[in-house]
């Protein structure tokens, strides 16, 4: 599955967009572009290089302490050449990340961008209808950000009437001190050869120590 055919458009792309740089990748050709050029690059790839199929739009959170923190990633596929290309652009603002919308080029970008906004909190400028898509409207967090715990944060149920009736809430999932990966650093202890929770000081019966 080598991509010798696809190496060509990357060279052309780098020549055409002077600020673009090659991006490290283990498989498909990938290019870093500045955020302001992202849509122009996508359009050029679609119109000139027959990358006509927008496969995926997503974001990566490189952790709270990293800057630039968020990267938006587009994957394009060519239905004629049968190759992929990955375009990545760093968001300039770490607190309020934003990216230009590609809905004008690919209708498929609509939902992908809504999802990225919902889960990662990247605002797509110019998107016609940027609402939450997977979580409910009014949910206060962006779950795929690294500071958001897997167990979740306590909030209200989306429906107030039902919440009143059942006294139920959106609670943190009982993780038994998880996550479930027990990365074993240091002494190897073969008596505890089962995967264990990282923090066993609390569980459903005992509350989590503050």
């Amino acid at each position: 599955m080598s991509d010798t055919v696809a190496a060509e458009p990357v060279a052309d792309l780098l020549a055409k967009f002077s600020e673009a740089t090659p991006r490290e990748s283990l498989d498909h050709p990938a290019v870093n572009v500045p955020m302001k050029d992202a849509v122009a690059v996508l359009q050029w790839l679609r119109d000139e290089q027959s990358y006509d199929f927008l496969v995926d739009v997503t974001g990566i959170d490189w952790s709270e302490t990293t800057s630039p923190r968020f990267t938006a990633v587009w994957h394009l596929f060519s239905t004629t050449k049968h190759t992929y290309i990955r375009i990545a652009a760093d968001c300039t603002d770490d607190a309020n990340p934003s990216a230009p919308t590609a809905t004008g080029l690919f209708p498929a970008a609509d939902w992908h961008e809504r999802e990225t906004f919902d889960l990662m909190g990247i605002t797509f400028e110019g998107h016609p209808d940027l609402r939450r898509i997977l979580m409910w409207d009014g949910y206060p967090h962006h779950p795929l950000r690294k500071e958001f715990p897997l167990a979740g944060i306590e909030t209200e149920l989306p429906d107030i009437e039902v919440a009143d009736e059942t006294q139920a809430k959106v609670i943190s999932a009982p993780m038994m001190g998880g996550p479930f990966v027990a990365s074993n650093k240091g002494e190897m202890n073969l008596t505890d050869a089962e995967p264990r929770a990282k923090d066993e000081s609390w569980n459903e019966a005992k509350p989590k120590p503050e």
Binding site: L26, V55, A108, L150
Partner: protein, 410 residues
Amino acid sequence: MATEFTVPDAGAKTAAASQEFETEKMSLAMGPSHPSTHGVLRLQLELDGETVTNCDPVLGYLHRGDEKIAENMTYNQFVPYTDRLDYLAPLANNAAYAAAVEQLADIKIPERVQAIRVITSEMARVSSHLMGLGAYGIDVGAWSVFLYTFTEREKLYTLFEELTGARFTTSYSRIGGVSRDVPEGWNERVLEFCDQFLPILDEILKLLTRNKIFMDRTVDVGIISAEDAIGYGLSGPNLRGSGVKSDLRKDRPYWGYEQYEFDVPVGSKGDCYDRYLCRGEEMKQSVRIIRQAIAKFPAGDYYAKDAVRIFAPKKDKVMTSMEELINNFMIVTEGPQMPAGEVYFEAENPKGTLGFFIVSKGGGVPWRLKIRGPSFCNLSILPKVCQDELVSDVVSILGSLDFVMGECDR
């Protein structure tokens, strides 16, 4: 004493309405608990009489946080979660995920594993399309198709159970191989299934293909043009039904698909009927692939030899050899160690192309794992297709798109 009584001037009102066509729009929530939404999709419809003037799909009722969960567990631990993405074809999902991680780890899997994955993926395709067909039958008013297809699915489940130990949450593919070898005589039983399946499939299709009611509900309903299909990122039978000959098994062959002869059916018009025909034909092609794969079923291992840091060693070796025990311990606790980097792999699943985008910083846990669910993309065209269709046709369109909310909402 005659009381003055004024009759509302209905005639004048109708005349005025017929001039301006001013009717009140009605808002209708279809779902999230509705038999034809195949799960928990909700369509917020705006109706003018019986015509849909606006359709706003509301998703997320099955958003379980798979991507966040993946960031919190090792590569091996995530395999069972892939079962539950497209829960009509777990075998294909497992294999697609495993192939993505193998691409990251740069592992070449043995030919036997490739053949097993091809056979199981094609069986999963048959099982998924059978379900799609049965459910579509119910949607448009044909109950008996469902009973036929489920009987066939049960036969497939029996075969899956023999191979993997579970009826449909199989978790069969492991990174670098499969969890166990094919049992003795299993391939022959698969062939037996294929032999008896084709006549029954013909019978099932006969119930629908030239059925007047079925054709009335599907022909020229929900037409998707080839440009729209590509633009909205449709894949699988939905894309091919619109006449785009795109199939990753042909275009970017993986697991040795290039050595099997099969045709890619495409539609001509892109209506619901074409998508149905494509699914029917794809099942026959899958059977063709299964037969070829079993005919030249290679000998060898069911796991890659160079995957020692990923694939847990055999249990008897763990019990007898110290190195294997330590290796097993490391794999279980810290996860299989992966190089840093980014990979994207897509497999041609029954519903479309299921993609995994993995960002690794090294270590046993992915930094970011993005799942591209084909159903998510296939559904994104709904607002456009449902525009100006009748409400009853929306049901037909939904059934023809054959989506699964598990991988749509993830």
